[in-house]
């Protein structure tokens, strides 16, 4: 299993926040980094499942459908 759970969560948060237009308050950083580390553990779990190119994402786009009668 890939383990990317050891990373600079605070540096990552600061850099990425600018990309999505968030000005992070330093008071919020401890909570944000704790949640990012938890998410990284979850990401390691999902990255550990071998997939093939045929494994599509779960949401399937529907171009249109008839309204209920």
């Amino acid at each position: 299993m890939n383990d990317h759970t050891e990373f600079d969560a605070e540096g990552y948060a600061r850099g990425t926040a600018a990309l999505v237009g968030l000005a992070l308050d330093p008071r919020h950083l401890p909570g944000i980094t704790a949640n990012l580390r938890l998410a990284a553990r979850m990401a390691a779990a999902v990255q550990g499942l071998p997939l093939t190119p045929a494994d599509e994402p779960a949401p399937i786009f529907v171009a249109g459908r008839d309204a209920p009668g």
Partner: protein
């Protein structure tokens, strides 16, 4: 009095809906201070709706299967004339809803009378209903403990007897977790079964809505009334209504029921597994099966929820982060920053996990698991010891529900009538989770009813 008994008395003219509504309103005024379930009581509306039900009875018309039955809804459901709070401070200043949510319209059309709106975790992102803005919901069985969440007000109101029926929503366990901790029945139907129209979304990939009740028959009444096609919900599958009330007493003969092993036999306290053992004995479920990749399914749901929830609230996270509940704010802020590849991988894992799980239902009609890993923790409790390790108490509450909603399987939380028999600390409530194949809610109800008839399931009466 159950919803079914109230409706029968009102339809027969033995009791007026007005009397029922006045008694319920007086009860809320007298007792909800101890539980903090309601964030709005719609007293005038309740009186007007009850009067309309009584007028129908007087005129010889049938007001419907929920005639005069008081109901209350999680405050993420639109209620005409009220701002839809979704547990937040931010939404307080938004325009009042122009009309009721679809599910509330369905219950009203069946004769129900709305009592008010119910407390919840902010934007449904939590399992505890320790709401910073509106205060914690207190468990009717021990007011020092949480009611669970995010539909904590819904479960506690039903458990306390303030309303026989309530509506909630469940994205990762937000109906099933509080149902277990408060000792009531809670249904999360198949993803796409009931309309979410007019319900404030949290993470659309997993958002479900459903009812709470104190017995299986009332749960069935509410579920049957709630069914119906809604063009306003893009995720709803427009299927024919499939009422379960007529099938309730069909029994479980011939049903193949197994206890889920692996992930569902770890991560919890002894009372959770003892509750499963008691239910398994009553259902004749001797076999144990593994739900493949359940932990990965939970992880996928965790990431997708975080990202979708964060994106929904990104404008407010940019403009007014301090107006969020501190408990949810930092989760949302982190969720806004997740790498896209994690999200796409999680959605692919979700589909792959579903493909591995669905074949189980070729062999089994129902799976049985704990509903929660332990009884209700204390309000403010941060950690709990599980399998010899201190874990964060809040996210771990969804350890058994999250892998199921991840792939939209219908599930019902069924409370033990006697939690003490499972060794539940302090005799506090605890439930089990029954899981079926997509669209087989009927089997959930038959098994829940069978457990009730065996004396195993039931809503324990809280102390007064």
């Amino acid at each position: 009095m159950s919803a079914a008994e109230t409706a029968a008395a009102v339809r027969a003219g033995r009791r007026s809906a007005k009397d029922v509504a006045e008694a319920a309103l007086a009860d809320i005024a007298a007792r909800d201070g101890a539980f903090n379930c309601f964030t709005a009581v719609t007293a005038e509306r309740a009186r007007a709706e009850a009067a309309a039900v009584d007028a129908a009875v007087s005129a010889g018309r049938d007001p419907g299967p929920l005639a005069g039955v008081p109901v209350a809804v999680k405050n993420l459901f639109d209620v005409e004339g009220l701002a839809t709070l979704a547990g937040s401070k931010i939404e307080r200043d938004k325009s009042p809803a122009a009309r009721d949510a679809f599910l509330l319209r369905r219950l009203r059309a069946a004769g129900a009378v709305l009592l008010g709106a119910l407390n919840m975790d902010e934007y449904a992102y939590g399992f505890t209903t320790e709401n910073h803005h509106y205060g914690p919901v207190r468990n009717p069985h021990d007011t020092g403990r949480i009611a669970g969440g995010s539909s904590g007000g819904s479960a506690a109101a039903v458990a306390a007897g303030l309303a026989p029926l309530a509506l909630g929503s469940d994205t990762n366990g937000s109906i099933r977790v509080p149902a277990s901790l408060c000792g009531v029945f809670g249904l999360k139907p198949t993803y796409g079964r009931l309309s979410r129209g007019g319900a404030y979304l949290f993470a659309a990939s997993f958002d479900h809505v459903g009812p709470f009740a104190r017995d299986a028959a009332d749960l069935a009444l509410a579920y049957d009334a709630a069914q119906g096609a809604d063009p306003d919900d893009p995720a709803q599958q427009w299927r024919e209504a499939a009422p379960v009330s007529p099938l309730l007493d069909a029994g479980i003969a011939g049903l193949r029921i197994a206890v889920a092993d692996g992930h569902f036999a770890r991560n919890g306290h002894a009372e959770a597994f003892a509750a499963v053992a008691i239910a398994a004995r009553a259902l004749g479920a001797a076999a144990r099966v593994s739900v493949p990749e359940a932990a990965r399914g939970r992880a996928a749901a965790f990431l997708i929820t975080m990202a979708e929830g964060a994106n929904l609230h990104l404008p407010d996270l940019r403009e007014r982060p301090d107006d969020f509940d501190p408990m949810t704010r930092d989760r949302f802020l982190a969720g806004a920053l997740l790498p896209a590849s994690w999200l796409v991988q999680a959605q692919r894992v979700r589909a792959a996990y579903r493909a591995r799980v669905l074949p189980l239902f070729d062999e089994w009609d129902l799976l049985l698991t704990p509903a929660t890993p332990y009884v209700a923790p204390r309000i403010g409790q941060d950690t709990v010891e599980v399998d010899g390790e201190a874990v964060p108490v809040r996210p771990n509450l969804g350890v058994y529900t999250q892998p199921i909603s991840c792939i939209g399987l219908p599930a019902v939380a069924v409370p033990l009538a006697d939690p003490g028999a499972a060794g539940a600390p302090g005799g506090l409530p605890i439930g089990v989770q029954l899981i079926a194949a997509p669209w087989r809610e009927d089997l959930l109800f038959r098994a829940a009813r069978a457990l009730e008839r065996a004396g195993v399931a039931g809503s324990p009466t809280p102390p007064r």
